[in-house]
């Protein structure tokens, strides 16, 4: 196991610091997950509401480990040819056309059909070699020499068949291409799967993963996040806006504002040169935080009461 361990991931604290250096503020739980994933070679399944930084975690991890991030967005109907590999049909066709003469030459003098088939069989192997292989995200991740961070985004959107197929790769970190053989990896990629919980994932997949649940951060953590991501915000405004959002999450809304919304909001407030929260500024920018008209309408009524509570 030691060969995969890089010097900079020796402890959970180091991981946490590394992620901070990659502009990602997280709690200890998250750092522990990345640390364990790296050492136990297990994929991490990240769950949580939209916009709390699930995808961002993969990006930050890649940056911190200095590995390429290979991202695969899942959707209904995604299949092997789009996820794993495909033959470059066009190139194959083109090459056969170009090489037609060579063929002809070598086939000259062949008497029987059996012989001709044998000859053609030799070419066949040439055309189904790695040269004509179009690597899709999964294969690309396996073929990275120094490992990679493979992000399988929104796995819950894919079909169950695909989930089963993914299992095979996640357990052995190798794939079999009938024409070439088994391609296995030297350094297994760090796999991060994200799920928005739109359907239950299969038990088999769940069992193979570490489960990380990222929820809405507490005020302290959120302030730190804003501090790092939106440097221009003054302390007072930052505390105010974070407290406001935190308070807002206690209301019953269709879609609660997430960290990404808080960040956007902070940016907007900075752009508008707002130095202190007041009712009008909030009402004007509420559409950044809330995504549903009905939510905005119902929140407008509460703005002033929350504001007094925050102050």
């Amino acid at each position: 196991m030691t060969d995969a361990v890089r010097p900079d991931i020796g402890s959970i604290e180091a991981v946490e610091a590394g992620l901070v250096a990659a502009n990602y503020i997280c709690n200890r739980q998250t750092a522990t997950a990345i640390y364990l994933a790296q050492h136990l070679r297990k994929p991490v399944l990240v769950e949580g509401p939209a916009g709390v930084g699930k995808t961002e975690l993969a990006r930050a991890t890649a940056q911190y480990l200095g590995l390429p991030l290979i991202r695969m967005q899942c959707y209904e109907g995604l299949d092997e040819s789009k996820a794993l590999y495909e033959w470059k049909y066009g190139k194959q066709l083109l090459y056969t056309q170009i090489l037609k003469d060579t063929y002809g030459a070598s086939l000259r003098g062949v008497e029987t059909i059996g012989e001709a088939l044998e000859k053609i069989g030799e070419f066949d192997d040439v055309f189904f070699s790695e040269q004509f292989l179009e690597a899709r995200p999964l294969l690309a991740a396996l073929r990275q020499e120094h490992g990679a961070v493979l992000l399988v985004d929104e796995i819950d959107k894919s079909d169950q068949e695909f989930e089963a197929f993914l299992l095979e790769i996640l357990s052995d970190y190798q794939v079999t291409i009938p024409e070439i053989g088994t391609i296995s990896t030297t350094v297994p990629p760090l796999v991060v799967l994200t799920s928005n919980d739109s359907r239950d994932l299969g038990d088999a997949l769940k069992r193979r993963c570490l489960h990380l649940h990222i929820g809405y951060p507490d005020a302290k953590l959120e302030e730190r996040i804003i501090d790092v991501r939106v440097p221009g915000v003054e302390d007072r405004l930052r505390a105010q806006l974070v407290a406001f959002v935190q308070k807002m999450r206690t209301f019953e809304l269709k879609k609660l504002p997430s960290v990404s919304e808080t960040i956007d909001w902070a940016r907007a407030l900075v752009l508008l040169h707002v130095t202190e929260l007041d009712g009008d500024a909030i009402r004007d920018t509420l559409n950044i935080l809330l995504k549903y008209e009905s939510d905005i309408e119902s929140m407008k009524r509460h703005v002033s009461s929350i504001l007094t509570a925050v102050n």
Partner: protein, 446 residues
């Protein structure tokens, strides 16, 4: 220790596979036992797989590795300076290592021995509350409490005041240790028993008649109903995607190839056509069904979460469409609002059906499945069977779910037997399990 914890976790309802146990060991090996929070984080990452399990895990972990196991009972104010006064290597204490340990006040070692003793007598096998004392005593015995008692007796018998003070001190410590042992057994009991009880309760709820379910079980029930809804949603998702793949439709491919001189230029794939289940739900919320109405609506709510194409109606004396309420509001608000609007009136199936006939009949076409949830008690009004017959003729399927037992159908003002010919399926449905069965059928068999 870890093995025992995993066992407790399993018993509290978290599915821990063998592979996960191995992972758990590997994880703890990696990070060490030093930091409790980190151990907890790591184990949770490996073991808990859903929100529900995370919750159970936290509970179980706190019970099992509770902070209490690290501290000694309340300090009773007995000074430790006795140790300074009396040389520790008294011959009275030679045969009781426990006594020495207590005098040295080595708590960490004491706790370690306590857990070792607990493991020795297999404390995890404790099942019943009444076994607590017995197990606690056996732990103490395994720790050598008898030798300690003998040592205390000898100290008392010596007549030396210093030694008697020491005996007093040991006596107090002994009580604290006994307390710790009991505490440990109780925690184990809680960790191991809790989940099993929960699960039994869940099973009971699934089988319990909906009317009889206690109010305090409502929450739990709600979770179960939603779980059914989710299960259906994912199962349904699967059947739909099956249609996307297909086998080559040879006949059509050949026919299509004709314009290209028989070269199969365009392939044609077989497709299994899957029709989305379109559901029209009629839910009786009248007085006679009121205790059930809550659950029926709850179920309607879960269904409208799971299926996209569903129209729901609630009726008592009259009928209103509630699809929008169910879709836009939170579950409690929705149910409350519906009940406020038309709940608790006396039922009049005839009028309700007439309203449906007039206003909503076009909601039904030959792809629709109509589900009626109600007891079919019309209060001796005209049942308007003809409306149901028309629905029956138009719809793909009519399913009637009746909370009353079959025997009661047709008795008194129940017109169930007259409705019966115009349903494809009529079932007794007063348990959660029934609901689940029916809906599974709705999804697959067509």
């Amino acid at each position: 220790m870890l093995v025992e914890f995993l066992r407790a976790a399993r018993r509290s309802g978290i599915a821990v596979s063998v592979a996960e146990s191995i992972e758990a060991f590997a994880a703890v090996d990696l990070i060490g036992y030093d930091d409790r929070v980190t151990v907890k984080d790591a184990l949770r990452l490996v073991i808990a797989k859903s929100d529900d399990e995370r919750e159970r895990f936290d509970e179980c972990f706190e019970r099992f590795f509770g902070v209490g196991s690290l501290g000694m009972g309340p300090d009773d104010g007995v000074a430790f300076d006795v140790v300074d006064v009396v040389p520790v290597d008294l011959e009275e204490l030679f045969d009781s290592p426990l006594a020495k340990l207590l005098l040295d006040d080595d708590r960490a070692e004491l706790i370690r021995r306590l857990h070792a003793a607990a493991a020795e007598i297999d404390v995890a096998s404790v099942r019943l509350f009444t076994q607590t004392n017995q197990f606690a005593r056996r732990i103490l015995e395994a720790m050598g409490i008898e030798a300690l008692d003998a040592a205390i007796a000898r100290l008392r018998a010596s007549g030396n005041p210093e030694r008697e003070r020491m005996a007093d001190f040991l006596e107090l410590r002994r009580r604290a240790v006994a307390e710790l042992a009991r505490d440990l057994v109780e925690r184990r009991l809680a960790a191991s028993g809790g989940g099993e009880a929960d699960r039994m309760h869940d099973e009971f709820l699934q089988d319990a008649r909906l009317v009889n379910v206690d109010r305090r079980d409502l929450l739990r029930m709600r979770v179960l109903v939603r779980a059914i809804g989710r299960k259906l949603a994912s199962r349904y998702g699967r059947t739909r995607t099956h249609a996307k793949r297909g086998h080559l439709d040879v006949r059509r491919t050949i026919r299509r190839s004709l314009p290209f001189d028989g070269v199969p230029f365009r392939t044609h794939w077989k497709r299994r056509k899957i029709e989305k289940p379109r559901i029209v739900l009629l839910c009786d919320v009248s007085g006679s069904c009121a205790p059930l109405a809550h659950f029926l609506l709850l179920f309607a709510y879960s269904l409208s979460e799971a299926f996209s194409d569903i129209r729901s109606f609630a009726f008592a004396t009259s009928m209103i469409e509630v699809s929008e309420i169910l879709e836009t509001q939170t579950i409690d608000d929705a149910i409350a609002q519906i009940m406020r609007q038309i709940g608790y009136q006396s039922s009049d199936y005839g009028r309700a059906f007439a309203t449906f006939d007039k206003d909503f009949m076009d909601a039904i076409d030959r792809k629709t499945t109509v589900v009626v949830l109600g007891d079919g008690r019309t209060n001796y009004h005209d049942p308007r069977v003809d409306v149901l017959r028309r629905v029956y003729e138009r719809a793909r399927r009519v399913v009637w779910l009746n909370p009353e037992h079959r025997v009661a159908w047709g008795m008194d003002d129940s017109e169930m037997l007259r409705y019966l010919p115009y349903t494809h399926v009529a079932r007794v449905c007063n348990r959660l399990r029934h609901l689940e069965d029916v809906v599974t059928e709705l999804v697959k068999s067509r």
